[in-house]
Protein backbone atom coordinates (compact mmCIF):
# COMPACT_ATOMS: atom_id res chain seq x y z
CA UNK A 1 0.00 0.00 0.00
CA UNK A 2 1.53 3.38 -0.99
CA UNK A 3 1.73 6.50 1.18
CA UNK A 4 -1.24 8.23 -0.51
CA UNK A 5 -3.44 5.21 0.09
CA UNK A 6 -2.37 5.11 3.76
CA UNK A 7 -3.14 8.81 4.15
CA UNK A 8 -6.51 8.41 2.43
CA UNK A 9 -7.30 5.50 4.72
CA UNK A 10 -6.40 7.49 7.83
CA UNK A 11 -8.44 10.49 6.67
CA UNK A 12 -11.33 8.22 5.84
CA UNK A 13 -11.35 6.58 9.24
CA UNK A 14 -11.70 9.98 10.97
CA UNK A 15 -14.24 11.37 8.50
CA UNK A 16 -17.53 10.44 10.22
CA UNK A 17 -16.45 11.91 13.57
CA UNK A 18 -14.94 15.05 12.02
CA UNK A 19 -17.96 15.60 9.80
CA UNK A 20 -20.37 15.16 12.70
CA UNK A 21 -18.38 17.53 14.89
CA UNK A 22 -18.33 20.15 12.13
CA UNK A 23 -22.08 19.77 11.62
CA UNK A 24 -22.70 20.17 15.38
CA UNK A 25 -20.60 23.35 15.43
CA UNK A 26 -22.23 24.68 12.26
CA UNK A 27 -25.69 24.08 13.72
CA UNK A 28 -25.07 26.52 16.58
CA UNK A 29 -23.74 29.42 14.51
CA UNK A 30 -25.89 32.53 14.99
CA UNK A 31 -27.71 32.75 11.65
CA UNK A 32 -30.34 35.22 12.82
CA UNK A 33 -33.19 32.85 11.95
CA UNK A 34 -36.02 33.13 14.51
CA UNK A 35 -36.37 30.03 16.72
CA UNK A 36 -33.41 28.45 14.90
CA UNK A 37 -32.30 26.47 17.97
CA UNK A 38 -35.67 24.69 17.86
CA UNK A 39 -36.16 24.56 14.09
CA UNK A 40 -32.68 23.23 13.39
CA UNK A 41 -32.77 19.42 13.22
CA UNK A 42 -30.64 17.56 15.71
CA UNK A 43 -27.64 17.01 13.43
CA UNK A 44 -25.72 14.97 16.01
CA UNK A 45 -28.64 12.55 16.25
CA UNK A 46 -28.99 12.28 12.47
CA UNK A 47 -25.28 11.78 11.93
CA UNK A 48 -24.80 9.22 14.71
CA UNK A 49 -27.85 7.31 13.50
CA UNK A 50 -26.56 7.29 9.92
CA UNK A 51 -22.95 6.32 10.60
CA UNK A 52 -23.80 3.81 13.33
CA UNK A 53 -26.04 1.99 10.87
CA UNK A 54 -23.73 2.31 7.85
CA UNK A 55 -20.24 2.17 9.33
CA UNK A 56 -20.26 1.47 13.08
CA UNK A 57 -16.55 0.61 12.79
CA UNK A 58 -15.80 4.25 11.90
CA UNK A 59 -18.16 5.83 14.43
CA UNK A 60 -18.25 3.48 17.41
CA UNK A 61 -20.27 4.30 20.50
CA UNK A 62 -17.04 5.48 22.15
CA UNK A 63 -16.96 8.32 19.58
CA UNK A 64 -20.71 9.01 19.68
CA UNK A 65 -20.64 9.57 23.44
CA UNK A 66 -18.16 12.52 23.37
CA UNK A 67 -20.27 14.07 20.59
CA UNK A 68 -23.17 14.06 23.03
CA UNK A 69 -20.97 15.69 25.65
CA UNK A 70 -19.96 18.40 23.15
CA UNK A 71 -23.66 19.02 22.51
CA UNK A 72 -24.28 19.34 26.26
CA UNK A 73 -21.34 21.68 26.73
CA UNK A 74 -22.51 23.93 23.91
CA UNK A 75 -26.19 23.98 24.83
CA UNK A 76 -25.65 24.23 28.57
CA UNK A 77 -27.82 21.18 29.22
CA UNK A 78 -26.83 18.76 32.02
CA UNK A 79 -23.48 17.19 31.14
CA UNK A 80 -24.02 13.51 30.31
CA UNK A 81 -27.59 13.80 29.09
CA UNK A 82 -26.67 14.32 25.42
CA UNK A 83 -24.17 11.48 25.74
CA UNK A 84 -26.92 9.24 27.11
CA UNK A 85 -29.20 10.16 24.20
CA UNK A 86 -26.54 9.42 21.58
CA UNK A 87 -25.62 6.09 23.21
CA UNK A 88 -29.27 5.12 22.86
CA UNK A 89 -29.43 6.31 19.23
CA UNK A 90 -26.22 4.42 18.41
CA UNK A 91 -27.46 1.21 20.05
CA UNK A 92 -30.76 1.36 18.18
CA UNK A 93 -29.11 2.24 14.85
CA UNK A 94 -26.64 -0.66 15.05
CA UNK A 95 -29.63 -2.94 15.53
CA UNK A 96 -31.31 -1.43 12.46
CA UNK A 97 -28.20 -1.81 10.30
CA UNK A 98 -29.65 -4.68 8.26
CA UNK A 99 -32.34 -2.36 6.84
CA UNK A 100 -29.62 0.00 5.66
CA UNK A 101 -27.68 -2.91 4.18
CA UNK A 102 -30.71 -3.77 2.06
CA UNK A 103 -31.19 -0.10 1.13
CA UNK A 104 -34.66 -0.11 2.65
CA UNK A 105 -35.01 3.62 2.88
CA UNK A 106 -38.47 3.73 4.43
CA UNK A 107 -37.53 1.24 7.13
CA UNK A 108 -34.41 3.28 7.91
CA UNK A 109 -36.52 6.43 8.11
CA UNK A 110 -39.01 4.80 10.47
CA UNK A 111 -36.08 3.56 12.53
CA UNK A 112 -34.82 7.11 12.83
CA UNK A 113 -38.26 8.34 13.90
CA UNK A 114 -38.30 5.67 16.63
CA UNK A 115 -34.76 6.54 17.78
CA UNK A 116 -35.49 10.27 17.75
CA UNK A 117 -38.69 9.74 19.77
CA UNK A 118 -36.92 7.68 22.42
CA UNK A 119 -33.93 10.03 22.57
CA UNK A 120 -36.34 12.99 22.81
CA UNK A 121 -38.17 11.31 25.65
CA UNK A 122 -34.88 10.76 27.51
CA UNK A 123 -33.93 14.41 26.90
CA UNK A 124 -37.32 15.68 28.06
CA UNK A 125 -37.25 13.56 31.23
CA UNK A 126 -33.62 14.44 31.98
CA UNK A 127 -34.19 18.17 31.54
CA UNK A 128 -37.44 18.07 33.53
CA UNK A 129 -35.69 16.31 36.42
CA UNK A 130 -32.74 18.72 36.23
CA UNK A 131 -34.92 21.83 36.18
CA UNK A 132 -37.51 20.28 38.51
CA UNK A 133 -40.35 21.48 36.31
CA UNK A 134 -42.85 19.97 33.94
CA UNK A 135 -41.46 21.17 30.61
CA UNK A 136 -43.58 22.09 27.63
CA UNK A 137 -42.77 19.36 25.08
CA UNK A 138 -43.99 21.30 22.00
CA UNK A 139 -40.58 22.75 21.10
CA UNK A 140 -39.01 19.30 21.42
CA UNK A 141 -41.73 17.73 19.24
CA UNK A 142 -41.10 20.43 16.64
CA UNK A 143 -37.36 19.74 16.68
CA UNK A 144 -37.92 15.99 16.40
CA UNK A 145 -40.33 16.55 13.48
CA UNK A 146 -37.68 18.71 11.78
CA UNK A 147 -35.08 16.00 12.41
CA UNK A 148 -37.31 13.36 10.82
CA UNK A 149 -38.21 15.66 7.91
CA UNK A 150 -34.56 16.45 7.24
CA UNK A 151 -33.51 12.78 7.20
CA UNK A 152 -33.89 12.17 3.42
CA UNK A 153 -31.82 15.29 2.63
CA UNK A 154 -29.23 14.24 5.18
CA UNK A 155 -28.94 10.72 3.76
CA UNK A 156 -28.51 12.18 0.27
CA UNK A 157 -25.83 14.63 1.53
CA UNK A 158 -23.86 11.91 3.29
CA UNK A 159 -24.13 9.41 0.47
CA UNK A 160 -21.11 10.97 -1.30
CA UNK A 161 -18.71 10.79 1.68
CA UNK A 162 -20.04 7.33 2.45
CA UNK A 163 -19.25 6.08 -1.06
CA UNK A 164 -15.76 7.61 -0.81
CA UNK A 165 -15.33 5.83 2.52
CA UNK A 166 -16.37 2.52 0.98
CA UNK A 167 -13.45 2.87 -1.43
CA UNK A 168 -10.82 4.05 1.06
CA UNK A 169 -11.67 2.62 4.46
Amino acid sequence: MNATAVLARRLASGLPLTLTLLLVFASVLPLGVPRFSVLCPSVALLSVHYWAAKRPDLLPVGAAFPLGLVNDLLAGTPLGLGGLQLILVHWLAVRQARFFAREQFLAGWLGLVGSATLAGLVGWLGNALHQQALLDPRALLLQMAMTAAFYPVFVRLLAGPQRWLARHA
Binding site: L22, F25, A26, V28, L29, P30, L31, G32, V33, P34, R35, F36, S37, V38, P60, V61, G62, F65, G68, L69, V70, L73, L74, A75, G76, T77, P78, L79, G80, L81, G83, L84, I87, H90, W91, G123, W124, G126, N127, H130, Q131, A133, L135, D136, A139, L140, L142, Q143
Partner: protein
Amino acid sequence: MRSGGGRIARLALPARAVAQRFPYFLLVLVALVLLFLGRTQPEAMEALHARVVDLMVPALDVLGRPVDATRRLALETRRVLYVYDENARLREENARLLQWQDIARRLEQDNAAYRALLNLRREPQSTFITARVAGDVGSPFVRTLLLSAGRRDGVRRGFVALSGDGVVGRVVGVGERSARLLLLNDLNSRIPVVLESSRHRAVLAGDNSGWPRLLFLPQGARLVPGERVVTSSQGGAVPDGLMIGVLAPAAEGELRVQPSADLERLDVVTVVHVEAPQVPSEPLRPFGASR
Protein backbone atom coordinates in the same frame (compact mmCIF):
# COMPACT_ATOMS: atom_id res chain seq x y z
CA MET B 1 8.46 2.42 38.65
CA ARG B 2 8.20 -0.47 36.27
CA SER B 3 6.38 -2.56 38.85
CA GLY B 4 3.91 0.35 39.40
CA GLY B 5 3.29 0.59 35.67
CA GLY B 6 2.90 -3.17 35.48
CA ARG B 7 0.35 -3.11 38.31
CA ILE B 8 -1.66 -0.41 36.53
CA ALA B 9 -1.51 -2.42 33.31
CA ARG B 10 -2.67 -5.51 35.18
CA LEU B 11 -5.57 -3.57 36.68
CA ALA B 12 -6.40 -1.85 33.38
CA LEU B 13 -6.57 -5.11 31.49
CA PRO B 14 -9.86 -6.36 32.97
CA ALA B 15 -11.33 -2.84 32.74
CA ARG B 16 -10.45 -2.75 29.04
CA ALA B 17 -11.95 -6.19 28.55
CA VAL B 18 -15.20 -5.03 30.22
CA ALA B 19 -15.20 -1.83 28.10
CA GLN B 20 -14.77 -3.84 24.91
CA ARG B 21 -17.42 -6.34 25.90
CA PHE B 22 -20.00 -3.95 27.30
CA PRO B 23 -19.21 -0.51 25.81
CA TYR B 24 -22.81 0.70 25.97
CA PHE B 25 -23.20 -0.29 29.60
CA LEU B 26 -19.91 1.35 30.56
CA LEU B 27 -20.72 4.62 28.76
CA VAL B 28 -24.21 4.76 30.26
CA LEU B 29 -22.51 4.42 33.63
CA VAL B 30 -20.10 7.28 32.79
CA ALA B 31 -23.04 9.46 31.65
CA LEU B 32 -24.93 8.76 34.89
CA VAL B 33 -21.83 9.58 36.96
CA LEU B 34 -21.46 12.89 35.09
CA LEU B 35 -25.14 13.70 35.67
CA PHE B 36 -24.76 12.83 39.35
CA LEU B 37 -21.65 15.02 39.65
CA GLY B 38 -23.52 17.84 37.94
CA ARG B 39 -26.09 17.70 40.76
CA THR B 40 -23.71 17.18 43.68
CA GLN B 41 -20.68 19.24 42.55
CA PRO B 42 -22.26 22.03 40.48
CA GLU B 43 -19.39 24.50 40.96
CA ALA B 44 -16.64 22.10 39.91
CA MET B 45 -18.67 20.95 36.92
CA GLU B 46 -19.43 24.54 35.94
CA ALA B 47 -15.71 25.38 36.04
CA LEU B 48 -15.00 22.37 33.84
CA HIS B 49 -17.84 23.43 31.55
CA ALA B 50 -16.40 26.94 31.17
CA ARG B 51 -12.89 25.62 30.52
CA VAL B 52 -14.02 23.29 27.74
CA VAL B 53 -16.30 25.91 26.17
CA ASP B 54 -13.29 28.27 26.17
CA LEU B 55 -11.58 25.80 23.85
CA MET B 56 -14.60 25.58 21.55
CA VAL B 57 -15.30 29.29 21.12
CA PRO B 58 -12.28 30.00 18.83
CA ALA B 59 -13.47 27.19 16.53
CA LEU B 60 -16.96 28.70 16.50
CA ASP B 61 -15.42 32.09 15.75
CA VAL B 62 -13.57 30.73 12.72
CA LEU B 63 -16.59 28.81 11.44
CA GLY B 64 -18.80 31.85 11.99
CA ARG B 65 -16.71 34.23 9.86
CA PRO B 66 -18.19 33.25 6.47
CA VAL B 67 -21.68 33.40 8.02
CA ASP B 68 -20.91 36.87 9.40
CA ALA B 69 -19.58 38.04 6.05
CA THR B 70 -22.69 36.79 4.23
CA ARG B 71 -25.02 38.44 6.74
CA ARG B 72 -23.10 41.70 6.53
CA LEU B 73 -23.26 41.61 2.71
CA ALA B 74 -27.04 41.04 2.81
CA LEU B 75 -27.45 43.89 5.31
CA GLU B 76 -25.33 46.30 3.28
CA THR B 77 -27.21 45.41 0.10
CA ARG B 78 -30.51 46.14 1.82
CA ARG B 79 -29.14 49.45 3.12
CA VAL B 80 -28.02 50.51 -0.35
CA LEU B 81 -31.42 49.59 -1.80
CA TYR B 82 -33.28 51.71 0.75
CA VAL B 83 -30.76 54.53 1.14
CA TYR B 84 -33.16 57.35 0.08
CA ASP B 85 -35.97 56.23 2.39
CA GLU B 86 -33.48 55.78 5.21
CA ASN B 87 -32.05 59.26 4.62
CA ALA B 88 -35.48 60.89 4.79
CA ARG B 89 -36.29 58.98 7.97
CA LEU B 90 -33.00 59.97 9.59
CA ARG B 91 -33.50 63.68 8.75
CA GLU B 92 -36.90 63.59 10.40
CA GLU B 93 -35.51 61.74 13.41
CA ASN B 94 -32.61 64.17 13.68
CA ALA B 95 -34.96 67.17 13.81
CA ARG B 96 -36.97 65.47 16.54
CA LEU B 97 -33.85 64.53 18.51
CA LEU B 98 -32.52 68.10 18.39
CA GLN B 99 -35.68 69.21 20.18
CA TRP B 100 -35.15 66.44 22.73
CA GLN B 101 -31.54 67.54 23.16
CA ASP B 102 -32.71 71.00 24.30
CA ILE B 103 -35.11 69.41 26.77
CA ALA B 104 -32.41 66.99 28.03
CA ARG B 105 -29.93 69.85 28.62
CA ARG B 106 -32.49 71.81 30.64
CA LEU B 107 -33.37 68.70 32.67
CA GLU B 108 -29.69 67.95 33.24
CA GLN B 109 -29.16 71.42 34.70
CA ASP B 110 -32.25 71.08 36.91
CA ASN B 111 -31.11 67.66 38.00
CA ALA B 112 -27.62 68.91 38.91
CA ALA B 113 -29.13 71.76 40.92
CA TYR B 114 -31.47 69.42 42.84
CA ARG B 115 -28.63 66.94 43.48
CA ALA B 116 -26.46 69.71 44.88
CA LEU B 117 -29.37 70.87 47.05
CA LEU B 118 -29.95 67.37 48.46
CA ASN B 119 -26.23 66.60 48.72
CA LEU B 120 -26.72 63.38 46.70
CA ARG B 121 -23.77 61.09 46.12
CA ARG B 122 -22.48 60.60 42.59
CA GLU B 123 -24.19 58.12 40.26
CA PRO B 124 -22.63 54.65 40.20
CA GLN B 125 -20.16 54.14 37.36
CA SER B 126 -21.07 51.76 34.54
CA THR B 127 -18.68 49.54 32.61
CA PHE B 128 -19.58 48.35 29.11
CA ILE B 129 -18.04 45.35 27.39
CA THR B 130 -18.99 44.58 23.81
CA ALA B 131 -19.12 40.87 23.00
CA ARG B 132 -19.81 38.98 19.79
CA VAL B 133 -22.36 36.16 19.89
CA ALA B 134 -20.27 33.09 19.04
CA GLY B 135 -23.07 30.55 19.23
CA ASP B 136 -26.85 30.43 19.38
CA VAL B 137 -26.62 27.29 21.44
CA GLY B 138 -30.11 26.92 22.79
CA SER B 139 -32.15 23.76 22.75
CA PRO B 140 -35.89 23.12 23.08
CA PHE B 141 -35.47 23.50 26.86
CA VAL B 142 -32.72 26.09 27.22
CA ARG B 143 -32.37 29.61 25.82
CA THR B 144 -28.70 30.52 25.99
CA LEU B 145 -26.04 32.19 23.87
CA LEU B 146 -22.27 31.83 23.93
CA LEU B 147 -20.32 35.08 23.94
CA SER B 148 -16.76 35.45 22.72
CA ALA B 149 -15.71 37.55 25.72
CA GLY B 150 -14.91 36.25 29.16
CA ARG B 151 -13.10 36.92 32.40
CA ARG B 152 -10.05 38.39 30.68
CA ASP B 153 -12.34 41.00 29.09
CA GLY B 154 -13.95 41.89 32.41
CA VAL B 155 -17.15 39.85 32.10
CA ARG B 156 -18.40 38.40 35.38
CA ARG B 157 -21.28 36.18 36.40
CA GLY B 158 -24.51 38.11 36.98
CA PHE B 159 -23.73 40.99 34.61
CA VAL B 160 -26.63 42.13 32.45
CA ALA B 161 -26.40 42.05 28.65
CA LEU B 162 -28.10 44.54 26.36
CA SER B 163 -28.72 44.87 22.66
CA GLY B 164 -29.42 48.27 21.11
CA ASP B 165 -33.08 47.95 22.11
CA GLY B 166 -32.96 46.66 25.66
CA VAL B 167 -31.99 43.93 28.08
CA VAL B 168 -31.50 40.48 26.55
CA GLY B 169 -30.37 38.44 29.57
CA ARG B 170 -27.78 37.83 32.25
CA VAL B 171 -24.38 36.15 32.28
CA VAL B 172 -24.63 32.80 34.09
CA GLY B 173 -21.24 31.24 33.35
CA VAL B 174 -17.84 32.74 32.63
CA GLY B 175 -14.70 31.22 31.21
CA GLU B 176 -11.42 32.94 30.46
CA ARG B 177 -12.43 33.94 26.92
CA SER B 178 -16.11 32.99 26.73
CA ALA B 179 -19.32 33.51 28.66
CA ARG B 180 -22.75 31.94 28.67
CA LEU B 181 -25.73 34.28 28.50
CA LEU B 182 -29.11 33.16 29.82
CA LEU B 183 -31.76 34.92 27.74
CA LEU B 184 -34.57 36.56 29.65
CA ASN B 185 -37.15 34.16 28.19
CA ASP B 186 -35.35 31.06 29.54
CA LEU B 187 -37.26 29.02 32.09
CA ASN B 188 -34.63 29.75 34.75
CA SER B 189 -34.33 33.48 34.11
CA ARG B 190 -35.48 35.76 36.96
CA ILE B 191 -34.95 39.53 36.78
CA PRO B 192 -36.30 42.10 39.24
CA VAL B 193 -38.31 44.72 37.36
CA VAL B 194 -40.49 47.74 37.95
CA LEU B 195 -43.41 48.99 35.88
CA GLU B 196 -42.32 52.46 34.82
CA SER B 197 -45.54 54.45 35.39
CA SER B 198 -47.30 52.60 38.22
CA ARG B 199 -43.96 51.79 40.00
CA HIS B 200 -45.23 48.28 40.82
CA ARG B 201 -42.33 45.94 41.47
CA ALA B 202 -42.29 42.37 40.16
CA VAL B 203 -40.02 39.58 39.00
CA LEU B 204 -39.72 38.90 35.29
CA ALA B 205 -39.77 35.12 34.79
CA GLY B 206 -39.08 33.34 31.53
CA ASP B 207 -40.93 30.17 30.54
CA ASN B 208 -39.12 29.33 27.29
CA SER B 209 -41.83 31.13 25.30
CA GLY B 210 -41.18 34.40 23.48
CA TRP B 211 -42.81 36.61 26.11
CA PRO B 212 -41.83 36.33 29.80
CA ARG B 213 -44.36 36.63 32.65
CA LEU B 214 -44.50 38.92 35.68
CA LEU B 215 -44.44 37.19 39.08
CA PHE B 216 -44.97 38.55 42.60
CA LEU B 217 -46.93 41.62 41.54
CA PRO B 218 -48.62 43.43 44.45
CA GLN B 219 -52.20 42.32 45.02
CA GLY B 220 -54.73 44.39 43.10
CA ALA B 221 -52.07 45.85 40.80
CA ARG B 222 -53.74 47.23 37.67
CA LEU B 223 -51.81 46.39 34.55
CA VAL B 224 -52.15 48.58 31.50
CA PRO B 225 -51.14 47.29 28.06
CA GLY B 226 -48.32 49.34 26.63
CA GLU B 227 -46.74 50.18 29.99
CA ARG B 228 -42.95 50.04 29.90
CA VAL B 229 -41.12 47.52 32.07
CA VAL B 230 -37.59 48.37 33.24
CA THR B 231 -35.06 46.68 35.51
CA SER B 232 -35.10 47.33 39.23
CA SER B 233 -31.92 47.47 41.28
CA GLN B 234 -33.79 46.19 44.34
CA GLY B 235 -31.73 43.33 45.69
CA GLY B 236 -28.62 44.69 43.97
CA ALA B 237 -28.63 42.02 41.26
CA VAL B 238 -29.10 44.30 38.24
CA PRO B 239 -28.73 48.02 37.49
CA ASP B 240 -31.75 50.31 37.63
CA GLY B 241 -33.93 51.50 34.78
CA LEU B 242 -32.73 49.41 31.84
CA MET B 243 -35.45 48.91 29.25
CA ILE B 244 -36.87 45.39 29.11
CA GLY B 245 -40.09 45.68 27.14
CA VAL B 246 -43.76 46.63 27.25
CA LEU B 247 -46.84 44.94 28.65
CA ALA B 248 -48.87 43.34 25.90
CA PRO B 249 -51.69 40.80 25.75
CA ALA B 250 -50.34 37.33 24.93
CA ALA B 251 -52.22 34.65 22.99
CA GLU B 252 -54.13 33.46 26.08
CA GLY B 253 -55.28 37.01 26.89
CA GLU B 254 -52.85 37.23 29.84
CA LEU B 255 -50.71 40.38 29.99
CA ARG B 256 -47.06 39.48 29.48
CA VAL B 257 -43.88 41.38 28.69
CA GLN B 258 -42.97 41.75 25.05
CA PRO B 259 -39.16 42.19 25.06
CA SER B 260 -38.05 45.29 23.20
CA ALA B 261 -34.89 43.49 22.06
CA ASP B 262 -35.16 40.88 19.33
CA LEU B 263 -33.88 37.84 21.21
CA GLU B 264 -33.75 35.76 18.05
CA ARG B 265 -31.40 38.00 16.06
CA LEU B 266 -28.43 38.89 18.20
CA ASP B 267 -24.93 39.26 16.70
CA VAL B 268 -23.36 41.56 19.24
CA VAL B 269 -24.36 42.37 22.81
CA THR B 270 -23.12 44.84 25.38
CA VAL B 271 -22.44 43.41 28.79
CA VAL B 272 -22.99 46.10 31.40
CA HIS B 273 -21.87 46.28 34.96
CA VAL B 274 -22.92 49.02 37.34
CA GLU B 275 -20.86 49.26 40.49
CA ALA B 276 -22.84 48.62 43.65
CA PRO B 277 -24.05 51.78 45.40
CA GLN B 278 -21.80 52.76 48.30
CA VAL B 279 -23.17 52.82 51.81
CA PRO B 280 -22.78 56.35 53.26
CA SER B 281 -19.84 56.41 55.68
CA GLU B 282 -21.18 59.41 57.63
CA PRO B 283 -24.61 59.71 59.26
CA LEU B 284 -27.23 61.63 57.28
CA ARG B 285 -27.56 65.28 58.26
CA PRO B 286 -31.01 66.54 59.18
CA PHE B 287 -32.53 68.55 56.34
CA GLY B 288 -31.52 72.23 56.51
CA ALA B 289 -28.66 71.69 59.00
CA SER B 290 -25.40 73.50 58.19
CA ARG B 291 -22.14 71.61 57.39
